[in-house]
């Protein structure tokens, strides 16, 4: 926030071009760091099954989307592996935590590693960001380990409480392969 104000002030002086360059570089690194921290935090929330925090990561109209093919351009009106708004995510949380969710006995555990974080674009005015990254996930359930890997593409909105997810697109490399059992919640 403080830096935003400084940016606006910095626009006034005449030696604009030079300052501008320096600011942009500084911003770039800060954005990189902030987005990385956001992604690490999201991964940790999922690994720790902190569902309220998970729902809090999204904007009111935010969506989690896992298409069945990499060339699919929209989730609307198409078959999807995941395509969920906050209501559907809330329902999934309620089911997973329900005492009679048989397939949650025993519960599954996940471990995420996130890397290759690239900021694709940053809106100068709003601070909104589009970022892509890679993930590796190990899931353990019922004496059985599964592996998932793929690419995230986050559309992040900058708010006074930090970034919120408008859209998270998740392309798993095995999207078109057979699923050995199902996915009980998000990767």
């Amino acid at each position: 926030m403080a830096r935003d104000k400084k940016d606006k002030k910095a626009k006034k002086p005449k030696a604009k071009a030079k300052n501008h360059r320096a600011n942009r570089r500084a911003n770039g690194l800060d954005t990189q760091r902030a987005v990385e921290q956001f992604l690490y935090n999201q991964a940790e929330i999922l690994d720790e099954r902190r569902w309220d925090d998970w729902l809090g990561l999204f904007t009111k109209d935010g969506k989690y989307w896992m298409p069945p093919r990499e060339d699919q351009e929209t989730g609307e009106g198409m078959p999807n592996i995941f395509y969920e708004d906050l209501f559907l995510m809330d329902m999934r949380v309620r089911r997973v935590e329900h005492p009679y969710a048989h397939s949650q006995k025993p519960k599954n555990k996940m471990s995420h590693v996130i890397g290759n974080v690239v900021i694709e674009s940053e809106d100068r005015k709003t601070g909104d960001v589009v970022a892509r990254s890679k993930f590796h996930v190990v899931e353990f359930r019922n004496d059985n380990q599964r592996y998932f890997a793929g690419k995230y593409r986050h559309h992040l909105k900058k708010t006074k409480d930090g970034y919120k997810i408008r859209l998270q697109r998740v392309d798993i490399v095995s999207a078109e392969g057979p699923f050995d059992y199902v996915l009980q919640y998000w990767l």
């Binding site: 198409m78 078959p79 559907l88 329902m91 089911r95 329900h98 005492p99 048989h102 397939s103 699923f179």
Partner: protein
């Protein structure tokens, strides 16, 4: 295990119970492939899956890998094997072969009906027993192929009833019901196949499809979560929640409701569960669907079509169809304890878009890889299979519920209650017949 029981698998099936070896024994499984999956009509795919010349999809029939493709003259079902040295010709799930199938090993090429087209450096065969006209040097077509209203079946043996007769009115009803709901009388497949592997025997899946006792227990958590969210949705938005929630909230229905359904057992093991979804509300989508059908067929026929309320039709042994929601799951047994399901849904040609959206919502909530429904079903299937593997705890599986009470009329068995285990008894009667034939 009773003495010599595997020599005569018919002994594994009694009127109200079956032996666990039916599910877990590897030798029984191999016999099932030979005697059931290679001797009955198996669903391959839908004509619209291969709309253009050269399009193909691959799938399984028993232990064989098959290709569904379109040539200039229509669809063909071919064995996925090069007659030269045996390489599988199509490795991927689907694609377009162009004008010919070309073997990746030595480039023998085949027309889209499987007949040999060309061999490189053919002189090498001069003076040999090789004959380009001999069918054994062409890709082999399935022994029999049949199409009912666009749904393609194949049979990997000669003889027996033709497809129409074999489907009978019980199984034909599944495809009639899907197609009749379209004002054009036709459906178009959506080019997306979700494939999900179950670690359990294929019969456990089929039995579950018509098991009206299990939903309120197995899907208790999902039903309640959905019912809660319907309220939350309404509170927060002031609007009615999308229909997807209702598909899941239905699982909270009490036993009495499930018990009021009916099941029907047809010849060859085809089995039907009368529906419960109440898919004829007075919402604008249903009303516009009614209008489209009335325009096409008249009011009386429209009413007849839309009052057909079937939840599941099992085309034994290969297919589970849900006609009012335009979806199907094909069953491909890979091992006694491993079953692949291929899951598809359809568009009704000429019907309002909202009808497709309803089908899509069901496809997502119940049949996608993120399903909150099959998450618990598959867990139970696996629990069953693992339990049946055990030695000391007992040998038999019980189908005693309402046994001996199934009324029979014109060769069709009905049930006295929706939760009767009549569908399982009906399927095993067919199983016994298939497995005892020629042994």
């Amino acid at each position: 295990m009773p003495d010599g029981i595997l020599g005569n698998p018919g002994n594994l099936v009694e009127p109200d119970q079956v032996h666990k070896a039916c599910y877990t024994d590897d030798d029984i499984f191999e016999q099932e492939l030979d005697k059931i999956f290679h001797k009955s009509w198996i669903y391959i795919g839908h004509e619209t899956q291969v709309p253009k010349v050269g399009d193909y999809w691959t799938t399984w029939v028993g232990r064989e890998r098959m290709i569904l493709c379109r040539g200039e003259d229509g669809v063909h079902v071919l064995y996925n094997r090069c007659p030269h040295r045996g390489a599988m010709l199509c490795q991927g799930l689907n694609g377009n072969a162009g004008k010919t199938f070309r073997c990746p090993y030595h480039a023998w090429t085949y027309n889209l009906d499987g007949s040999l087209f060309r061999i490189p450096v053919e002189e090498g065969y001069d003076g040999t027993a090789f004959d380009p006209k001999d069918p054994r040097f062409s890709m082999k077509p399935a022994e029999q192929m049949g199409i009912y209203r666009g749904f393609v079946f194949a049979k990997l043996s000669e003889g027996g009833p033709d497809l129409d007769t074999w489907l009978g009115r019980g199984a034909r009803a599944a495809f009639d019901d899907i197609c009749n709901r379209s004002p054009e009388g036709e459906v178009e497949i959506v080019q997306n196949c979700f494939r999900v592997i179950q670690h359990s025997n294929w019969k456990i899946f089929l039995e579950n499809q018509l098991d009206a006792l299990h939903p309120s227990i197995t899907h208790h958590s999902t039903g309640e979560a959905a019912a809660e969210m319907q309220k939350v949705y309404k509170q927060r938005t002031g609007e009615d929640p999308p229909i997807g929630y209702q598909f899941l909230a239905d699982f909270t229905l009490p036993y009495e409701k499930w018990d009021s359904l009916s099941t029907y057992g047809h010849p060859y093991g085809h089995t039907v569960l009368g529906g419960y979804m109440g898919l004829r509300p007075r919402d604008p989508i249903t009303v516009s669907h009614e209008e489209a059908l009335t325009k096409a067929y008249g009011a009386e026929r429209m009413d007849e079509i839309l009052s057909t309320n079937v939840h599941h039709v099992l085309v034994y042994p290969c297919l589970s169809v849900q006609p009012p929601l335009q979806q199907l799951r094909a069953v491909r047994p890979l091992a006694a304890d491993k079953t692949l399901t291929e899951i598809w849904h359809f568009r009704l040609k000429g019907a309002p878009e909202g009808i497709y959206e309803r089908s899509l919502a069901y496809y997502y909530h119940v049949n996608s890889p993120s399903t909150m429904v099959n998450a618990d079903d598959l867990q139970n299937f696996n629990a069953c299979h693992e339990g049946l593997r055990l030695g000391g705890g007992g040998d038999w599986v019980s189908f005693h519920r309402n046994a001996g009470q199934d009324p029979v009329e014109n060769g069709v068995t009905t049930s006295v209650t929706g939760m009767s285990e009549q569908p399982m008894r009906n399927m095993f009667a067919a199983w016994k017949e298939y497995m005892s034939a020629g042994s």
